[in-house]
């Protein structure tokens, strides 16, 4: 540079200090490593309940699917099973949770054995309601179940159907204003933060 006003001595000292760092590793290795084995993106599957998942075994996947279907059953709209919420939960736990943080979810699924999946819908509903009410379950078990239930609900309402059909999706509202609420009106399906 033409306007270089620092002395060569200064410059050399400066470069030497830098050299200490550069010598330790090549530039390439310093700047590399930004790529990470990020897991594949989640996309809804139709067969998640008939194969082992990333976190759950085949049996556990069956139970999870049945639990999800009981919490948010098919009505005149799709249920959690139809939207692969069980597959979502498995994928989400594998990618966005530390091993430690997945424990409550695994514990919650392990509260049941495969016989749960063979119960009639009413009996399944009653079993989960009893769990929430603490009948035969302790507080830890209730908390584990509540965590699992919240993640299933999250999976449902952040799916395309959940966010844009079960709820009203308003990508570009155009402005903010209060409006009257009429009984039956759906809530909004998109948020700044989840």
């Amino acid at each position: 540079m033409t306007q270089n006003t620092i002395s060569n001595d200064n410059r050399r000292a400066f470069l030497q200090r830098l050299g200490g760092v550069l010598g330790a590793a090549t530039v390439a290795s310093l700047t590399a490593g930004t790529h990470l084995n990020v897991a594949f993106a989640y996309s809804p599957q139709t067969d998640s309940a008939s194969k082992a998942g990333k976190v759950f075994s085949l049996t556990q996947m069956k139970i999870l699917a049945s639990v999800a279907d009981t919490i948010l059953p098919r009505t005149n709209t799709p249920g959690a099973f139809d939207l692969d919420c069980h597959g979502f939960v498995d994928h989400q736990l594998a990618t966005c949770f530390s091993k430690e943080a997945t424990k409550p979810y695994l514990s919650a699924v392990n509260l049941f054995d495969e016989s749960f999946t063979t119960l009639a819908p009413d009996a399944r509903q009653k079993a989960l309601m009893d769990l929430e009410a603490g009948k035969g379950f302790d507080e830890n078990q209730q908390n584990d179940f509540r965590a699992l239930k919240s993640l299933i609900v999250f999976g449902y309402f952040t799916s395309e159907y959940g966010a844009s059909k079960a709820l009203r999706y308003d990508a570009v509202p155009g402005g903010f204003k209060s409006i009257p609420y009429k009984p039956g009106d759906k809530g909004w399906g998109n948020f700044a933060y989840y």
Binding site: V21, Y42, S150
Partner: protein, 579 residues
């Protein structure tokens, strides 16, 4: 933007070097360019082009890899600190600093959450846009209660600059006429919801010295010609601002100051240029330029100019000064006072209160309001201080109607539960405290004697904590929040504090200030009232480093006003031949 604007090696000497491209640097660039100065903006991070580099914008939640949650491995390895910021998610993570590449240390027994945004635009892309003037009392607080040094400026020194920047930025808000929160130049306010209006009425009746107002925020609710000439249009109430906004509806470097600077043809930008230190000439007692290390290939280069404006954010600018050592300044440039790095402050966002609101079933809203309500500090003078601690706090406040996110945790299994989740639930309301932190010499940042980052720059060691005064203030703020919600008829009201958690340590309020404080006395301060170094006339630091006390309001509007005032001062002094 015109690609020629970006330079790498350059043999020319510039009129001005601006280090940093965030809120402060962006404003400095605009002001210098508009005054005809040949300006180089130096930014350590990559280029982020307005509208082009906003990959999260407008993307529906189901199109994200993990529904807007961040891959755990990535977060753990590269964003271990940043992930504690409420705004960190899969739609914004690329605007947050990389904690693996930018390590820092904390002194034993202390914690610091340094939230960073190292790219063109800095934190202006990520900020929450809350914009309030500091009030006359704020500039007198140190003098009145004896903590810290007296500000060398008063509110009146800034009024005209506040007005100037507000018109350019576009601040939506209501003229409330309050002594403890001066009005800005306003665009129309966002709407206050009915439950909020009722809480306002009840609280102001029960506590006549407190005022609940609509939040003031840097959003174009009604753009002016000035805004539209820069390609900015009206806010669409998406409230997805932190992913980037192609409408240019919130103020950022990209939406506002950069296009304003670029259209003068006086702007050059050196991106991926990590400033290592300043080049100082002992004979003339002037800074000559900066030493830069390439962000990507670590090669070195230098840039030169008549004056340097350090706008690298409080901690960033202070790091550069501390790392610029010479015979005359062995402890960091412009540090003859020895206070450089000391008096580090942040705000304290560690108390909240919330409760349920009965009724309002027929009230709803359309759109996502990008701001809440606000209660300015009602303890701004010693006579109004509460018992047990000094200074005060403000509150963010809002009423909300619950939805599936909250109701998912409630009891319910089956078809009725599923149906319930598709409808809005009960109303609730909350107060969230924003407390002042006292200026203390012991709260400081320094450079580690041996540990360096990959650019060879010594790592910062933070040594700061909230003290007894801050904690007592938060205890009171939680209690007062409960009282106000009860006065407003809320039920199930609960208050809590969070200062005891490591991830709520200083830094997490992202309002760091104070490490090169301004003052009248060169022996006890680094800068004068124009953010000019006492020791070196052609060195200015108009970012948060310059603050003498933290006040309670979100600081960025004041950074802007200080910056514009500093540029104006420099331009006049230079013309008069005094610098």
């Amino acid at each position: 933007m015109n690609k020629d604007i970006y330079i790498k090696e350059d043999n020319n000497k510039f009129d001005v070097l601006i280090v940093g491209s965030g809120i402060t640097g962006g404003f400095a660039a605009k002001e210098f360019c508009e005054r005809g100065f040949n300006t180089l903006m130096i930014e350590r991070g990559r280029v982020v082009e307005h509208r082009v580099d906003y990959p999260g914008e407008g993307k529906p939640v189901w199109d994200y890899d993990n529904r807007m949650k961040v891959d755990n491995l990535l977060a753990e390895q590269q964003h271990k600190i940043q992930k504690d910021c409420y705004a960190f998610h899969d739609g914004t993570k690329h605007f947050f600093g990389n904690d693996r590449d930018l390590p820092y240390q904390t002194a034993e027994g202390t914690d610091f959450r340094w939230i960073r945004a190292n790219q063109l635009g800095g934190k202006s892309l990520l900020w929450h846009r809350q914009s309030y003037r500091m009030c006359p009392d704020d500039f007198l607080a140190n003098k009145r209660d004896g903590h810290g040094n007296d500000w060398p400026i008063r509110y009146n020194d800034l009024t005209k600059w506040y007005s100037y920047v507000e018109k350019f930025v576009g601040i939506s808000g209501n003229a409330d006429g309050l002594a403890n929160l001066p009005d800005s130049e306003f665009l129309p306010p966002f709407e206050m919801l009915k439950p909020e209006q009722d809480i306002k009425a009840a609280v102001e009746k029960a506590f006549p010295d407190r005022h609940l107002i609509m939040g003031r925020t840097a959003h174009l609710t009604k753009p002016t010609t000035l805004h539209m000439q820069l390609g900015r249009v009206q806010c669409q109430a998406r409230n997805e601002c932190q992913k980037g906004c192609s409408f240019g509806a919130y103020f950022s470097t990209q939406s506002a100051t950069l296009p304003a600077a670029a259209r003068t043809n006086n702007l050059s930008i050196a991106a991926n240029s990590v400033v290592h230190s300043l080049i100082y000439d002992e004979k003339t007692n002037r800074v000559k330029g900066v030493r830069v290390i390439d962000n990507e290939d670590l090669s070195t280069r230098e840039y030169f100019a008549d004056v340097v404006f350090l706008c690298a954010s409080t901690v960033g600018s202070t790091q550069i000064l501390l790392n610029s050592k010479s015979k005359k300044f062995p402890n960091g440039l412009a540090n003859s006072s020895g206070v450089l790095g000391h008096y580090l402050m942040d705000h304290n966002y560690n108390a909240r209160a919330s409760g349920d609101l009965e009724g309002y079933e027929d009230e709803f809203f359309k759109g996502r309001r990008p701001t809440g309500c606000y209660m300015p500090n009602f303890q701004s003078r010693p006579e109004t201080y509460a018992k047990g601690y000094k200074r005060g706090y403000a509150y963010g406040m809002s009423a909300y109607r619950s939805d599936w996110r909250g109701m998912a945790g409630q009891d319910g299994i089956g078809a009725d539960f599923k149906d319930k989740l598709t409808k809005p639930g009960k109303w609730g309301a909350g107060f969230y405290a924003q407390g002042e932190m006292l200026p203390e010499f012991d709260n400081h940042m320094s450079l580690h004697p041996t540990k360096k980052d990959k650019w060879g720059i010594p790592q910062i060691v933070f040594n700061a904590k909230y003290g007894a005064n801050e904690n007592a203030m938060m205890d009171d703020a939680a209690e007062q929040g409960v009282k106000m919600l009860e006065a407003a008829g809320c039920t199930n009201v609960q208050g809590s504090t969070s200062y005891q958690y490591p991830n709520r340590a200083p830094g997490i309020a992202i309002h760091e200030v104070g490490t090169a404080r301004m003052g009248r006395d060169a022996k006890t301060s680094v800068l004068n009232g124009y953010c000019q170094a006492h020791d070196i006339p052609n060195l200015f630091v108009p970012d948060g480093s310059s603050f003498s006390s933290s006040g309670t309001v979100n600081p960025s509007l004041t950074f802007m006003a200080l910056t514009v005032r500093a540029v104006d001062y420099y331009a006049k002094e230079r013309k008069a031949g005094r610098i």
